[in-house]
Symmetry: C2
Subunit: 169 residues, 2 copies
DNA sequence: CTCCTAAGGCAAAGGTGTGTGCGTTAGTAG
DNA sequence: CTACTAACGCACACACCTTTGCCTTAGGAG
């Protein structure tokens, strides 16, 4: 039951994006009555956000081996792998559409984590530098060029982030 | 008439995003009958995309002074200025939501232009490098951190793009 | 075994967006 | 001045999503 609904939501998100989903659509594909879904979640957006445990867990712990470059690369690779799954990429696009003035966007956790890396000993960069040089290229590709994402090697970005002449004060 | 509709669409896009817009909404705010809108455009998405002369014109011509760095910086600054306007940023988010497998995304022109810069004499980078180091940070901020966009100085990105040790073969 | 509760299916009602036929008006050509 | 065309408003019909009341069923407690 719940499994069939989850499957239907995943399929529809991957097919049509997270915005073009309606409750009756999910209900029909899952083989359940739409009233069951309305009772359980109230509306489509709530349902999607609830079934979307796909988001990276903010409490998952970050790599910390003492090797800053390796840790950053592992962190980047985690993002690449995560958004290589079509459902997660579609969900990210939904988050992009909802982003705006407020900072309640789906990537706030990533920004905090970037700042955390920048605060480690041996860092020659700021949190914003991590965003610009490591997060942005990955997210950009995940949203607009998803088929190029598996080819990304975060280590290249990390090396460029660490080795760049630090003219930016 | 058309001006009032355009104004209504811009306001609503800035307020609620490009996805939560319906024809009756626009009609009421513009003080016109919804049937006029349906006749003119057919549906909301077509209307928005048509009124979106907001998109950077692909035929606008690119800066070409012979100074590659200056040209790239001017090109980047053009994007920054463009997406500093809330309506254009909201439209970009709408495009992000619609992006996916197909390459019919709203940034394809930008990708082609990036490749154009990479093909100029004196270039030490590829089109993808331009995307990763110049376009991605700007677009990322435009979508998720719009309030940081006016602080961006594309020249910093351009310098880092050109000066990086070209380990990426 | 009986009762109770939770969950789901069914069906009807209400609300909203969408689409279209018809009359009216404005602007223009003859 | 008249005739024609194009654009707009009005009103209605349609379709879809949303919500709710009622019934049936499944599972556990007494």
């Amino acid at each position: 039951m719940l499994a069939s609904i989850r499957k239907a939501v995943e399929e529809l998100i991957a097919e049509r994006g997270s915005d073009a989903i309606t409750v009756p659509m999910v209900a029909e594909r899952a083989g359940v009555n739409h009233s069951s879904i309305y009772r359980r979640w109230g509306d489509a957006r709530t349902m999607i956000n609830d079934l979307a445990t796909y988001r990276l867990d903010p409490d998952r712990g970050l790599p910390d081996t003492g090797d800053l470059r390796a840790d950053l690369a592992a962190w980047g690779q985690e993002m690449v792998s995560h958004y290589s799954v079509p459902v997660n990429a579609a969900l990210l696009r939904g988050g992009a559409a909802a982003a705006g003035e407020s900072e309640s966007d789906c990537l706030r956790d990533r920004r905090a984590e970037a700042a955390g890396f920048a605060a480690r000993p041996g860092s020659t960069f700021t949190g914003d530098d991590v965003i610009d040089h490591l997060v942005a290229p990955i997210i950009y590709r995940a949203i607009f060029l998803p088929w190029t994402l598996p080819d990304v090697d975060p280590r290249v970005y990390v090396d460029e982030l660490c080795d760049r002449s630090d003219r930016s004060d």
